[in-house]
Amino acid sequence: MIELFYFHFFRNAFIISLILGILFGILSFFVVMRKMTFLGAGIAHTAFGGVALGVLLGIDPFLTALAFCIGAAILIGKLVKYGKISYDMSIGIFFSFSMALGAIFLALKRGYAFDLMSYLFGNILGVTFADTLIAVCVLAVFMLFVLIFMQRILFMTLDEEVAAVSGVNVNLLDTILLVFLAAIVVTSIKIVGIILVSALVVLPAGFGLLISKNYRTVIAAGILFAVTVMIGGLFLSYLMDTPTGATVVSAGTALYFLSLIASKRLKPDR
């Protein structure tokens, strides 16, 4: 197995998997607790429109997907307030609109052989050193944000109105959280894929909440879960010759269900 590390693409994929494990382990807690899981799925699917726009314009699809996802994350919230509609409805509208735009952009780029499957389900062969550098930067900025604002996010998650009255800038923190959600989702697209990334937004916190009722332990368990699943899935996909994203998500789902059953057996009253 060690010989895999002689390959540049595998070394990059290993590093980015480790970083994404940490990122999703922490992000998942906030997203699940703030009941934004469908938003995570919506933003991930929005990335398809961004990737296709990059292909059409000949720009790096990472940049256009990032711009698309951040734009969608902000516009989804604006539409809720402007149209006085539910978050579910707003996400549903942007979700399908962006997928539709993606299909149109790709159709306009006639004669271009686009590897759609790699973007939808991930492909570690596409991971470059530049991608790992971007992941390191996202991790550094996100960790700084969490260190500074962790308690304030917890406060607004438990009790948004009181947090606002007590001096927490709820709208600003929510927007920053959405921007990070978009950035982390886009960073993971190459390895996990647009369709599957939403599982990583949900499963780590789901696992952590089975383990503990202390948020610090929930986050730590979420990181451990996400890192294990990302790295384990990477090796499994090599051994089984299966798509990496699909293997990571399947391994994560299996681990979650096993943990759920074990937790029910050990603590039947939960």
């Binding site: 604002f149 308690q151 438990l158 109105e161 009181v162 009255v165 001096g167």
Partner: protein, 254 residues
């Protein structure tokens, strides 16, 4: 400053409909005032307007002589209706109270020794120190209310706003809770504005009562309210007020 909250001819609209109509109300220093009225009478909207979460369409609102949005964070301690809280959050009693100390403008979220002392005192004042490490969601309804009061107190506020604080509490827990509120007012020099639909329970501890059904129908001493026709204007004709007898705890001071 004698008046800590002042509303002058305040009108508030919600989705185009007038919810508060020409409301004028004051809360004086170290006073307990309760706003009573049926569901949908605009009580919670009134609190949100005072906190600056809702803008009045007409009229002026001042808190400590300032417009609500200019009031420094921590001046107001707020106890929301419990239905708005997420009890599945994996946080302890200590974590919940500590949140108040993190909410200020400090960049790094580190609890100082002073913060810890204030959190401990807030928990002590509501008799919840022994439960500090328990999961917040696992507490009884009365204990949760006490913890949320402790969180508000940890801000060291001048004013407490309580929205339906006795909902879900049984008669004994309700009575204990109101006695605690009065004791806190005396011990910490707080001014307290409390919203309730239970006129009987709050009338024994408040200094003044305001009956609200979109507009103020009565504003004065609780005893005057019951001899005033405004009660039927707010709650309807078929309402009977049941008072506590002389043997109940605290009734002898009335």
């Amino acid at each position: 400053m004698d008046e800590v909250i002042s509303l002058q001819n305040v009108w508030v609209k919600y989705d185009g409909a007038v919810v508060l109509e020409d409301v004028s109300l004051t809360l004086r220093n170290k006073e307990i005032v309760s706003i009573v009225g049926p569901n949908g009478s605009g009580k919670s909207t009134l609190l949100k307007t005072i906190m600056g979460l809702k803008q009045p369409w007409r009229g002026t609102v001042e808190v400590m002589g300032l417009p609500p949005r200019k009031v420094p964070g921590g001046t107001i301690g707020y106890l929301p209706q419990r239905s708005s809280l997420d009890y599945t959050m994996p946080v302890s009693v200590f974590d919940v109270v500590a949140m108040a100390r993190y909410a200020g403008a400090r960049v790094l979220e580190r609890l100082t020794a002073d913060d810890r002392m204030r959190i401990d005192r807030a928990l002590e004042s509501v008799e919840m120190s022994d439960h500090r490490l328990r999961h917040f969601g696992s507490l009884s309804e009365g204990q949760k209310q006490r913890v949320l009061i402790a969180r508000a107190l940890a801000l060291q506020p001048r004013i407490l706003l309580l929205d339906e604080p006795s909902t879900g509490l049984d008669a004994v827990a309700q009575d204990n809770f109101y006695q605690m509120i009065r004791a806190l007012r005396d011990a910490k020099d707080l001014s307290i504005l409390m919203v309730s639909h239970d006129i009987g329970a709050v009338s024994r501890i408040v200094d003044r009562l305001a009956c609200l059904k979109n507009k103020i129908h009565f504003h004065g001493k609780p005893a005057d309210c019951f001899s005033n026709e405004s009660l039927s204007g707010v709650f309807g004709k078929n309402v009977y007020y049941v008072t506590h007898d002389k043997n109940c705890d605290g009734c002898e001071d009335e």
